[in-house]
Amino acid sequence: MAYSIRDQTAIVGIGQSEFGRFLPDSQLKLGAKALKAALDDAGLTRADVDGVAIHLGWPLGVDYDRLAEAYGLSLRWVSQTWLHGRFVTSALQQAAMAVACGLASVVACVTAISFTRERQILGGPGDAEGTREDGGTHGESPPYGLTAPAGGAALAMQRYMALYGATSAELAAVPIAFRKHALKSPHAVMKTPLTLAEHQASRMVVDPLRLYDCCLITDGAAVVLVTSAERARDLKQAPVYIAGMQGLRSGRDEFIFAPRGLGINQQPARREQPPERDLAVYRMAGIERKDVAGLYTYDAFSPVVLFVLERFGFCGPGEAASWVQNGRIELGGELPMNTSGGLLSEAHVGGWNSILEIVRQLRGAAGERQIPKARHLQWGTAWGDSVIFRSAR
């Protein structure tokens, strides 16, 4: 590799607002709370921030120019992704690349959303995506009433179950594990345990997804501050290095909520082990998959948690539903995942709640959720992008 971003940038500050439902604050107010907290965490001031990467912009969240105006920032680099959670990795990666390329010194990655106020934008008549030219991006088919992202995850899981004999009761291990983690997070919206019986008795939303297979709809903001590794070493917190990354996979063999080869939409129906190209994140970080002490993912729906395990080869094609049983993805298990509860049980802050958790873990500040001796943690999604974080410790 001629050039690598390995360990050139780091996360030096994290902040958040409260997470909840029907919070009275505006999205911008939630974002301001998170930015203040992140600056305080890093020992930086507002004037140090010269770049912003907005995740979940229009039509759901805040836009960069209004944010800069409202917070009195003076920016020389901005990036913004629209509506979709899938761009969480892109926003973080763009921040790191902007810093590494000298386009900005400190980039604030900002997600500030009030999903509960903007509810109709997701899958309802206010959702313009499904009816725009060439349609939605989760397999939506509005004329047939398939209008929400959950529909795409359901189509994928239904075929997965038919191919491999996986069951809803096996899938339940995912939300049950994340609920256990949420009970240890002071920020979590969900406060009571989830049992298999409750999961199985919960209402069917879009077959085979039951209520607890679908993520929360919440409000909140999260901010992550990215700067150069050199500057990071002089700041208040131990840096959390961005050790390796790889981008979002797209093409005719991809569907956003399915592993490659599952046969959803126009994907070829042919499963195989992950190709070397899809394991680039480990190479860039200079580690092996087995060195990852915990995996964090965008758990919009519980099936995508299975799919990310197969995509990165933690288990083979079709094996994930049985692989996640018996506490394997829980704290204390072989591969803890989403240790603060994820979107399924902590809050839906576009996945950034899990990025904050990664930083806390690698600082050794995760309290009763701490993964012992965690040195490398991986963020990876079912659509194939990833960032590996390295502890300074």
Partner: protein, 136 residues
């Protein structure tokens, strides 16, 4: 909410012949005149060889269900009265997959691999939606 508020398919210049044929109760697919492969959804070029030489050919209308779901939640008020309703993806004999719905079978008998054949909804507002039925 009336039927009329259900979303219409967004027809593009690339997909216009597909929808025109459906109004005549025919299923057609864009085929590449260069490499011969059909594709869906209808696109501007052949996604396999990037050729501009596309031509529309009749499809057999036969295929199998490659996946399915049943919707139990009213995201769209216009569909509330239909709940629970199915949505299927059908892998056509020619290869591409088409999203539609299945009629003529109770939802609890939906199954991946089920052989199906094309059927058509009644034309409404100039649109005829394709749907499928189990092969008798």
């Amino acid at each position: 909410m009336s039927e009329r508020t259900k979303p219409r398919p967004r027809i593009t210049p690339d997909s216009q012949p597909f929808w025109d044929a459906l109004r005549e109760r025919k299923l057609v697919l864009p085929h590449c005149a260069a490499c011969g492969k059909p594709h869906l959804p209808p696109g501007p070029v052949c996604p396999f060889c990037f050729s501009d030489r596309l031509e529309w050919r009749p499809a057999s209308g036969r295929g199998t269900i490659s996946t399915w779901t049943v919707v139990h939640k009213a995201w769209f008020p216009a569909f509330a009265a239909d709940i629970p309703y199915n949505v299927v993806q059908v892998e056509l004999e020619e290869g591409p997959r088409l999203t539609a719905k299945l009629v003529g079978l109770p939802n609890d008998r939906l199954k991946v691999g089920l052989p199906v054949t094309i059927d058509f909804e009644e034309e409404r507002d100039g649109i005829t939606l394709p749907r499928f039925r189990p092969v008798p």
